[in-house]
Amino acid sequence: MMTKRIIPCLDVKEGRVVKGIQFVELRDAGDPVELARVYDEQGADELVFLDISASVEGRKTMVDVVQAVASELAIPFTVGGGINALDDMKRILRAGADKVSLNTAAVNNPGLINEGAAFFGSQCIVIAIDAKYDESIGTWRVYTHGGRTPTERTVIDWAKEAVERGAGEILLTSMDEDGSKQGFDIALTKAVGDAVSVPVIASGGAGNAQHFLDVFTEAQADAALAASIFHYKETGVGEVKQFLRNAEVNVR
């Protein structure tokens, strides 16, 4: 039996983790490698680094971050943000990342998914989808550019197309729930999970351990991602896993 995965997400800007992270025991709370190590020790199953650098220099720094993390850590990690071409994937994967996550670039140029999957294998290609419910069409709409730009695509169709093109995993963020701490979007996660044959990572809305249990049992998510509740120590990865274990969910 596969375990359900708990995945902390770190935002990296110009090579530093941003968004106040409250690990008092750290010498340097902005160091991606130190934070990654703490999460590894807490039992994180995987990590996601999202590069939110605005500059070309910042993007280059990400390669150094990836190398440093890969040198220090023995758990899988994904890098997203600023990956627009096959060359970007090569840089990040050769530096030691296990997967790359594509969002806006894949929507604008879906062939990028085929290229990446053909070159590195589907297991390396994660498609990140920002989803927001649209009452006028009665389903979820895909947004790009960090949730700022609505597209003509619906989430279910886009997820299916991405998988047909070679995506190995879907990282699904609910814009409706993101930041709410009211729980993951069960309906959205279940709808996408039913539509595709690859693992779905639920994201957006985690506020406590019960929310993880809900998304695993009610929406059959394969993994769940969270940022702030872990960074601000509202709950720890270990605590969430203990809660899940008590509820007889299979975790590592």
């Binding site: 039996m1 596969m2 375990t3 890969a70 023995a74 030691g96 296990d98 297991q123 394969d222 993994a223």
Partner: protein
């Protein structure tokens, strides 16, 4: 000294960094001559079976691997590197492997015995079930390791099956016979358990040196 066989198909970086962390010296090489100066070799691999075998043959590393194994020194195949140790694979056709272990590489069924849908690739952390004692498994208690694969080894000899994981079928996870061993998962990505497995392989390598 461990040799990591470089034939253009591996995540050599992760494997080599893992060895650095546990303090095992290594070389990465595609030269049989250089690789022959080691006490054990690792055959990594990510990608398609057919391409991997073609590259090994191109560089005459297939012959090297056979000679190396005949010399009695230990070989560890990881992920696709483990699959290459078997007789043949049905991945995108029918292709002959190294034939060091008995069995055939076949696709993971996308339904389990009850007809429930299974996601392929088998990706994520799964639990090891141990079938027999082996030096490489020494002291492994928390048996969760990280898998990423769509094909598995079918028809493995009972004697060669050291540990397996459940994913609709019994997925052989650690296999071994004499000095040939393989891991279907990625020990280099399997946190503390993976590091322990690699340390065990290195220790077994040092021990076998006394025998040789």
């Amino acid at each position: 000294m461990i040799g990591i066989i470089d034939y253009g198909m591996g995540n050599l970086f992760s494997v080599s960094k893992a060895l650095e962390r546990i303090g095992i010296p290594y070389i990465i090489s595609e030269s049989p001559e250089e690789l022959n100066n080691t006490k054990g070799v690792i055959l990594p691999g990510v990608g398609a079976f057919k391409d991997a075998m073609a590259r090994l043959r191109e560089k005459e590393l297939d012959q090297f691997i056979h000679q190396y194994v005949d010399s009695g020194r230990p070989l560890l195949g990881i992920c696709l590197g483990m699959q290459l140790l078997f007789e043949e694979s049905e991945e995108n056709g029918q292709f002959e492997g190294l034939g060091l272990l008995k069995g055939r590489i076949v696709r993971i069924p996308d339904r389990d015995a009850d007809g429930e849908r299974l996601k392929v690739p088998h990706m994520g952390w799964n639990k090891l079930h141990f079938h027999q004692e082996a030096p490489v498994l020494e002291g492994i208690e928390d048996g969760y390791v990280y898998f990423v694969h769509s094909y598995y080894a079918d028809g493995v000899d009972k004697q060669a099956l050291l540990a397996s994981a459940e994913y609709g079928v019994h997925v052989p996870a650690v296999v071994g016979r004499d000095n040939v061993s393989g891991m279907q998962f990625h020990p280099e990505k399997s946190s503390a358990t993976g590091m322990k497995l690699l340390t065990n392989f290195a220790k077994a390598m040092e021990r076998s040196e006394d025998i040789l």
